[in-house]
Each structure stands twice: as structure tokens, then as C-alpha cells.
Symmetry: C2
Subunit: 202 residues, 2 copies
Amino acid sequence: MIRILLAEDQAMMRGALAVLFGLEDDLEVVAQVGTGTEIVPTALEVRPDVALLDIELPGISGLEAARELRASIPECRVMILTTFSRPGYVRQAMAAGAVGFLVKDGPVEELADAIRRVLRGETVLDPGLAAATLRAAPNPLTARERDVLAASEDGSSIADIAGQLFLSPSTVRNYLSAAIGKTGTRNKTEAALTARRNGWLA
Amino acid sequence: MIRILLAEDQAMMRGALAVLFGLEDDLEVVAQVGTGTEIVPTALEVRPDVALLDIELPGISGLEAARELRASIPECRVMILTTFSRPGYVRQAMAAGAVGFLVKDGPVEELADAIRRVLRGETVLDPGLAAATLRAAPNPLTARERDVLAASEDGSSIADIAGQLFLSPSTVRNYLSAAIGKTGTRNKTEAALTARRNGWLA
DNA sequence: ACCCACCACTGACAATTGTCACCGTCGGGT
DNA sequence: ACCCGACGGTGACAATTGTCAGTGGTGGGT
């Protein structure tokens, strides 16, 4: 019996997956959580064989949780199940020690089998996605550049960002200018958008 | 047997829902589509009792498709199933003649029952959501203001928007200024963001 | 006939944003 | 000891953006 922990914020998706796994006689969902914060404590309690994690969750992200899981329960296999096949996400997932990366665009039928393959020691990663990730440029942004871009995502002015990060407005403008240059865009809105799309901000 | 048409762009979600409905002995998924464009043609072919539509789909939106469905197949009940409980979405759905509005945050268990209730002639709409929608201000934006906001969502400059809409840059700035005023925001990025969040742009 | 809202545009002005050149500090490599 | 990159900052300048006051035109009510 393969014991599964399910982390996914959309209740309907989470419930549907749980029902599907319940139909397979070698799979068993032993825990369901809707936030990133619950992942590690719950895993410590139920000791699952596999953790199937969404990335964009309330609280900490699935990627962050994956890193912590590897450290605290090394024998638990981590798989990522996400909407977005962003190169940066794939990179981070692999770096975090995940052994599977699935997109919600794919067919449900393959899901159960992917879990079984991971348990047999295989790594599940779509070849096209792997190639695209390798083709794509790795994250060129520094930590501070990521900070200012993340802070500018809600349309904040430079003064706002400076206030949030306790920096001078001029400094913020310099980081933004650098980020705009590195992303090949024309203003902070475009820069934040492409950084987000590439998975450089999570 | 209740004949269902399922429109949802995430293949995994779509497949999972289809499996779930297949477990109920009075429900039958007679068609699945992943784009808005396919909805009406497919419905004309299979003549479903209920169409369960996501809103944000490639091609035309589920709301647009709902309007067309009401016109071409009046006996088909339309239900909306969406991630976002935006007031503008609820308003448009009801105006389009939908008899159900469900959010993906809710439990799966209620889904099948919601469909049965709609078939009995009931309208399925969360009371809290209905109240929130009535409390929220209706869309204050004119058609042109919506146009310029939609065009500015990707970080385009005013000159870009003017080019896209065949307007003078000054005109675009005026519409943006009006939209910024009406949304109570401070720049076009914030304005586009709040308009989108309220469901004023779909 | 009149008002009103929306559309499209212009021009002037102030504020914000983006670029650039430059200053210094700190910590890692080699 | 030296170089390099990231960090934090300043000041100057140009470009973009946001505001405001106008000018018309259209079409729908009353």
C-alpha cells in the first residue's frame, strides 16, 4: 500500500484526486492539506511514502516545503504537481530533491502510474519539459532584484517598494533598472511579469 | 440519466471530474472540451441537459459561451464552475442565464448534488457569495475604459496601447486616468489589477 | 430642444519612472 | 594582495505617465 500525502489548495481538485487514488487498490491518501505550512508537520505525523505537492499554496510554497521535507524525512519521495510548467519551477524542484514533476495539463490516467514509478525509484519528468528547462536561461536575477520585482507585482510605486524594503528610492530604481535590463523588458511591470512567468520569483 | 457537457481547460481537473461523475449512476458526461470555442458546436451535437463551464478558457470565455448557449439551446441548463468568486463574474453569469455558480474551493461532494438540484429547477448559488456580490459595487467602467485596462495588463506602455486600439496616446491617457479615478487606485497597473480582480474585464 | 453620457482628441503641466555615471562597503575566490 | 560581484547609495537627465481644462461629435432620453 502506497501512502500518499496530498497538498493542494483548491479543495475541489484535492478532493477529486483523493477519490481517484481511493479507486486504485495499491494507493492510499493518508493526509490532505490545503496550505504549505501544514505539509511538514503533517508528514512528520503520518510518515507518507510520497508527498504530492502543489507549488502555489497559502503559507510557504510547495518548493520550500519540498526542501524542508528532504531534510526532515529523507525517505519520503517528493513529487510536484502544478499548473505551470515554468522553467524556474522545474529547476528548483529538481534542486530540492523532487523525483517527479507533473503538470495539471496532463491526463489523469498517468497520475497513479507516475506515483508507482516514483516508488520504484524512477524519476518522472516529461522529456519535452526537461529539454525546455535546459534550453531556457537560468535565473539571472540577484536576491535583491527578485525582492524589488516581487514587491512591484501589485503595481506599487517605487516609493512604496522603498518603504517596504527599507531602501532608498534611488536604490530601488537601480535594482529595477538592472532587472529590466536582464529580463529584456521596458518597464517594471513587464519585468515582474516575465520574471514571474519564468519562475524566477518563487 | 443526466447528460453533462464539461468545459474546463485543465486536463487533469477535467478528467478527474469526469471520473467522479461516472461513479454516480444518474450522471453521464457526454462531452468534454478544453476550449471555449468548442462549447456551442459540441452542445449542438450532443444536446446535454447541463453544461458545466469554467470561465477562463482559451478562445471565448465561459460567460460568453453561456450567453450563446442560452440563445441556441434554451433547454440546456448552464452552470459555472470557476476558481474565482469575483463579484463581476457572478453578476455576468446570472445575467447570462446561468442557474448555478460554483467555486472550485468548495467540496467535491456537493458537486453532483448541485447538478441534480439544478435539474430539479433550483438555482445553486452560495448565499454568502450572493450577498458579497450584491454588496460590491457594480462595474463602473465604460467599454473603452475596459479596453485600455485590458491592453495595459501585460505592462504595455501608453504608446503601445494607443497603437493596439488605434487611438491617440492622449486619448488613452485620459481613459486610463478615468479608470484610475473610478477604481480608486494610483496608476494603470493597480487599476488593471483591481479591475481584473473584480471581474470587470472579462 | 435640451441634457447627458460616451467617444476621440489636443495641449499644458507636474509627478513618476528609467538610465547612467559615479561613490563606497563587504565577502569570496585565486 | 588583488579582482569581482552583490549591496546600498547619490545626483543628473530624459522619457513616460497622470492630471486637468478644454474642443468636438454622436446618440439616447424626456
